[in-house]
């Protein structure tokens, strides 16, 4: 991210030096004030959703979801350890509810528990990264919130397409990881 940001800043400033040098500071401060406005909007969205999610958690609904997911996780991730299964289940269910910030600490714990010290990413680790990248979205909470603030007439109408796309890409991800893993194994035996 460091190099990435540096590149963006440098390139645009060098161009602006020739085109419009006075715009640099005005634009930077303008953008920062835009960031402040967005943060306030996000704060309102998070207040509502973090409250609701706490309810989901306290009512035991998130544990129930995790329990439902466990048999599937056993098959997809090929892990036998129950603790790892539970961590993965909680990570995925947090992702499903569109709270990426809640899923991150769980993902870190799961990967740490799967680490065998070999320095290489194992099959189940790769699967977790891929599933996190494509994660099935039941409720894209923050996005719905942003659409509401932007004055959408039906902010929730993106739920269905998002769900369809994420189901397809998640299946594709699972298939690809299994497929590449099988190919690698065959190579080893030959």
């Amino acid at each position: 991210m460091n190099i990435f940001w540096l590149l963006m800043m440098l390139c645009s400033m060098v161009v602006l030096l020739f085109v419009n040098p006075s715009a640099v500071l005005t634009e930077m401060i303008g953008a920062a004030s835009g960031a402040l406005t967005l943060s306030i909007e996000l704060c309102a969205i998070y207040t509502v959703w973090l409250g609701i999610i706490e309810l989901v958690d306290a009512s035991g609904l998130s544990n129930l979801l995790a329990k439902l997911l466990r048999p599937m996780i056993k098959r997809v991730f090929k892990v036998e350890d129950e603790n790892i299964q539970k961590l993965i289940a909680l990570n995925i269910s947090a992702n499903m509810l569109g709270v990426g910030n809640a899923s991150t600490p769980l993902g870190i714990k799961a990967i740490k528990a799967m680490d065998d010290g070999s320095g290489k990413a194992s099959f189940s680790m790769i699967m977790l990264v891929v599933i996190n990248a494509t994660s099935i979205q039941l409720l894209p909470t923050t996005i719905i919130g942003l659409r509401t603030t932007a004055g959408s007439s039906s902010p929730a109408d993106i739920i269905l397409p998002t769900l369809i796309v994420t189901v397809i890409t998640t299946l594709l991800g699972i298939f690809l990881v299994h497929f590449i893993n099988a190919l690698k194994r065959r190579k080893k035996y030959e």
Binding site: G51, L55, D57
Partner: protein, 168 residues
């Protein structure tokens, strides 16, 4: 139809909480408390990316880049206006929310472009960030085929999202 989804889920959740004897008020407060801290934490990230994007825009680099990518995007059925979002999404979560908000206010929340952007946001993830953070507590250096597979799935998701938004 989808306008009913959220209220129904909320009602079911509250009824479920009554059954489980959860102190609804206190629990909600406890969760909501985290919001300000979270926003304070992510604000500098949002500001940094918005500053960079604003500079890219006034300098004309964005227009130039969009024009350059337009043929590829058009071929895949993705509106070229989403160029910025698609490229920044794998790197920054809060930053891509900033871009999404920009798209929503520029093109209107219910426009085709905005809906595509929302679905793309929902079906993709900050792959590079997640991979770095997840493995930060281990000694794993080689992620093998994790990143390429994740990126490929995101590209497929982006194309599918734009296709579906035309139909639904």
């Amino acid at each position: 139809m989808s306008n009913y989804i959220l209220p129904i889920i909320f009602i079911l959740l509250f009824i479920f909480c009554i059954f489980k004897k959860v102190n609804v008020y206190d629990t909600f407060i406890k969760g909501a408390k985290g919001a300000i801290k979270l926003v304070v934490d992510i604000f500098p990230f949002i500001a940094a990316i918005m500053i960079a994007v604003a500079l890219l825009r006034v300098s004309g680099i964005t227009t130039w880049l969009t024009r350059l990518c337009a043929p590829v995007f058009n071929f895949l059925g993705v509106p070229a206006e989403l160029c910025e979002l698609v490229f920044l999404r794998p790197f920054t979560g809060s930053g891509s929310y900033a871009i999404l908000e920009n798209i929503l206010s520029t093109y209107g929340a219910d426009s085709y472009i905005s809906r595509c952007a929302c679905v793309i946001m929902g079906c993709s993830e900050t792959i590079f960030y997640v991979a770095t953070i997840y493995f930060s507590q281990t000694k794993v250096k080689k992620l093998a085929y994790a990143i390429p597979v994740a990126l490929l799935c995101s590209v497929v998701g982006t194309i599918l999202a734009c296709l579906l938004c035309k139909v639904i």
